[in-house]
């Protein structure tokens, strides 16, 4: 489980060929809710879920990079 997680909007055009990209529907429920809360609040909530791995890019309303 990551000790801290940051989500930031990223430009899909900047992704490398080996980028790990997932769609929000591939996440477990907790990660989906976490991602939506981050989108709605504009900040990354505490207690990040294990299903979000640093380096991942998740397709939601934007492309979000997990740091």
């Amino acid at each position: 489980m990551p000790s801290s997680t940051d989500l930031s909007v990223t430009d899909p055009g900047s992704l490398s060929a080996d980028a790990r990209v997932r769609h929000v529907d591939e996440l477990d429920e907790r990660a989906q809710a976490f991602l939506d809360a981050a989108r709605a609040e504009g900040t990354t909530p505490d207690d990040p879920p294990a299903d979000l791995t640093p380096g991942d890019v998740v397709v939601f309303t934007e492309y979000y990079r997990v740091r």
């Binding site: 060929a17 769609h23 529907d25 591939e26 809710a33 939506d36 709605a40 397709v59």
Partner: protein, 412 residues
């Protein structure tokens, strides 16, 4: 004696099953047969590729080494022509017979062809596979005008591809709104507005009566039942899926617009299982036979099927699905079965926020949320717990839903 498992289909259901089988049966023979020319790819992300947002590489999930590392025999470009449950074997188009101890049918579906004149013309596209996405992307990049048909979850992907590729498109719908079986006009108008903002014009009470072509057989226009003509050099059709059940016809395996399975993903024939889009499964929450086309559901079904192929009736499929649309700057979530209710409640909170719940026998069986998904966890929990809550619609339509504040759990 080494157990042998054969899986028809290398989508997420079939692939999930292969992975689970290898984890639980290290010494088993596992064969995956697919008519596609490539291994598992992300069917959700192929639309992002077609929109021009993603390159190909991130869309591919498995490379050949994945199968080699797990000693899974992957047969690409291989069509299964016959299934013989009595003989415990399948036959391929190359007349090869592959024996099995247990078989998993995860063959998915094929886009329904629009039964109108010139629906097979050049420039008219159906969208299901990665190869379809490549063709659609290439065509859309040079197209100027488009028509989209199919007012559901697949059609809107084509509309979004049009928008992303700068194609000036008309989205022809038979009904009064997009996804009329799950949304009312209040909710659908949020989608309509978003489409219009992106250069896609919804047209209601429409559809396609025929396509017109030029002398080279390329599509030039769609004519709707009202006689209205929409020029297009690109057309996308997404009116549903035919499930690939033809290979089990005549085998005794029960079908009903899909392969019928119980909660263990077992078909009506011993040692034959099914998983993914092709199934009509006994849903433990609704108590009915249901179908579901979501990625997470297919992945879970594959895993559950595999577990039961090794140890029969050891695991049940009990699942609340999620299906998100991510084409817009607001979120859209469909969960469960939003179209099968005997009772509904909806609320509109703003021009961009709306939700609707479907109930059956007083319990939530599905819903749609647009713009604000904060209540999704509560709704899914209530659905999972099968709580009778339809008598508390006002509380359920509060912006924030407090599950603990609702009346105590009841069994319906």
């Amino acid at each position: 004696m080494t157990a042998s498992y054969v899986i028809i289909g290398d989508g997420i259901a079939g692939s999930s099953a292969a992975e689970t089988l290898r984890e639980k049966a290290p010494d088993a023979e596992i064969t995956v047969v697919t008519d596609e020319g490539e291994a598992l790819y992300n069917r959700i992300l192929i639309k992002e590729f077609a929109k021009g947002k993603l390159p190909e590489a991130p869309v591919s999930i498995h490379d050949p080494e994945w199968y080699d590392e797990r000693d899974v025999d992957l047969r690409l470009n291989t069509l299964v022509t016959d299934v013989r449950p009595d003989a415990h074997e399948i036959e391929t188009h190359e007349d090869e017979r592959i024996g099995y101890d247990k078989l998993l049918v995860a063959a998915g579906g094929t886009p329904v062809q629009l039964p109108v004149e010139n629906s097979d013309a050049d420039g008219v596209h159906h969208f299901w596979t990665f190869q379809d996405a490549r063709r659609i992307k290439e065509a859309a990049e040079s197209a100027e005008t488009g028509v989209v048909v199919g007012a559901g979850l697949l059609g809107i992907d084509l509309a979004a591809i049009s928008a992303a590729q700068g194609v000036d498109a008309h989205y022809l719908m038979r009904g009064d709104c997009w996804w009329r079986y799950a949304l009312t006009e209040d909710g659908a108008e949020i989608i309509h507005d978003a489409l219009r903002e992106r250069g896609v014009t919804p047209v209601f009470g429409s559809g396609v009566d025929r396509f017109e072509t030029d002398d080279d057989g390329r599509v030039t226009a769609a004519v709707d039942p009202n006689g209205d003509r929409y020029e297009c050099d690109w057309a996308g059709v997404a009116i549903g899926l035919d499930f690939n059940t033809e290979i089990v016809q005549g085998t005794g395996i029960e079908t009903d617009s899909g392969v019928v399975v119980d909660e263990h993903m077992h078909t009506s024939v011993e040692d034959v299982y099914a998983a993914g889009d092709i199934t009509r499964y006994h849903d433990l929450i609704t108590g009915e036979l249901e179908q579901n086309g979501s990625w997470g559901s297919a992945k879970e079904q594959g895993s559950v099927a595999a577990t039961n192929m090794i140890e029969p009736e050891s695991e049940q499929f009990r699942w609340v699905s999620s299906y998100s649309i991510t084409h817009f700057d607001f979120p859209f979530l469909s969960f469960g079965h939003p179209t099968v209710g005997d009772d509904y409640v909806e609320a509109k909170y703003s021009d961009t926020e709306w939700r609707r719940l479907a109930f059956k026998d007083g319990k939530i069986v599905g819903g749609v949320l647009i713009g604000d998904l904060s209540a999704q966890s509560a709704y899914k929990q209530l659905m999972r717990e099968e709580r009778v809550v339809a008598d508390q619609k006002a509380a359920l339509m509060e912006k924030q839903v407090d599950v603990d504040a609702l009346a105590p759990a009841q069994e319906g």
